[in-house]
């Protein structure tokens, strides 16, 4: 069974090198500032042998958008949950981790497509599922559905 590393321990490890980056941590996860994601991810990848990116996902909370990375070391059989938050709902940006894990490519595009979070440094930041002219990002809570026959659903 893969061992889930404690978020607080991981936060301490990050804090040694980037004192300002960590904004919170608990038993399961560690939360970092959105602009430091790439540096923190690189540090974790090198120090904890996190060679595999299980998935990236994102959540729309009332006050912020959260991006969640689940990272695993196949070599050492442990995993880390890394989170970051964007307070700006209108123009959320997070650095892309595509340069560290190739698997981030389509997942970041999917998050951009459905939640509108733009990943800086991604080589091909465009919609994945929906077509280019689609208006809005449908997994956002403020997205209004168009009812067949006209009008918008609340």
């Amino acid at each position: 069974m893969t061992k889930a590393l404690s978020g607080s321990d991981t936060a301490k490890k990050i804090g040694e090198k980037f004192p300002d980056a960590v904004t919170g941590s608990d038993e399961t996860s560690v939360i970092v500032r959105s602009k430091d994601v790439l540096e923190v991810a690189r540090l974790l990848k090198e120090s904890l042998n996190l060679d595999y990116l299980n998935h990236i996902t994102a959540v729309d909370y009332p006050d912020y958008l959260e991006v969640i990375y689940l990272l695993t070391s196949i070599k050492d059989n442990h995993s880390v949950v890394l989170k970051t938050r964007c307070e700006d709902h209108n123009n959320p940006t997070v650095p892309s981790v595509f340069s560290l894990w190739q698997g981030a490519d389509f997942q970041e595009r999917e998050i951009y497509d459905l939640l509108g979070i733009s990943f800086e440094g991604h080589p091909n930041m465009k919609r994945l599922f929906l077509w280019a002219g689609f208006e809005g990002h449908p997994l956002r809570k403020d997205f209004k559905l168009e009812v067949p026959g006209g009008g918008k659903k609340e």
Partner: protein, 201 residues
């Protein structure tokens, strides 16, 4: 196996935005054009007497041939496709009802079975396949998603009913319909084809 370093820059054959733009235009114009459903082609079903005067015997013969050699084009879009496949394979075997073989090419098919959820992104392709089929042609909407959008009606990406894109002859409800249901739909189509008139088509 070739081993990769920690940070390898891979050249990717990403195209310019041109294809995206063309696709987007196609979908947007289809959405704009698909506000009203096509009327179901049933108007001629009641006109039994008027048109039977001319070609009664010949027409019956031709109808018989048409009815029992309806070749379906497989348009499996979602989970309904598996019920369609099992209806085609040995246990249910719709060849017994003259449905013969599934065709992968629309040019050789008479009937399009729309099996599953149709998304707006897929809609232009479905319309193109329908246009490529030779007359006479029929459409069977299989499952609640194809009929009305089903559970996904009102979603941002799903067409609420295939009859917005193509005229539908037979609706087979169910989620998904069992193969028996699909075969019942075929028989309904056969009855409909029997009433079809050469002159009208």
């Amino acid at each position: 196996m070739e081993e990769r370093g920690p940070e390898v820059e891979i050249e990717r054959p990403y195209v310019s935005g041109e294809l995206d733009r063309v696709e987007s235009e196609e979908i947007q114009s289809l959405i704009a054009a698909s506000k009203q459903p096509y009327p179901d082609p049933v108007a001629w079903l009641e006109e039994d007497v008027k048109q039977n005067l001319l070609l009664t015997t010949t027409e019956q013969l031709i109808d018989l041939g048409k009815r029992f050699s309806v070749w379906p084009a497989a348009m499996g879009l979602a989970c309904c496709a598996f019920e369609m496949i099992s209806a085609a394979s040995s246990r249910f075997d719709f060849s017994r009802f003259g449905m013969e073989i599934m065709r992968a090419s629309p040019r050789q098919a008479d009937l399009m079975i729309v099996a599953g959820t149709l998304t707006w992104k897929m809609a232009p392709a479905l319309r193109r396949i329908y246009d490529q089929m030779a007359e006479p042609k029929w459409v069977l909407a299989m499952g609640s998603c194809a009929i009305s959008g089903g559970a996904f009606r009102g979603s941002y990406s799903v067409v609420p009913g295939v009859n917005l894109i193509v005229p539908v002859d037979v609706y087979v409800p169910g989620c998904p319909p069992r193969p028996e249901g699909l075969i019942n739909g075929f028989q309904a189509l056969h009855r409909k084809v029997a009433k079809d008139k050469l002159i009208k088509r």
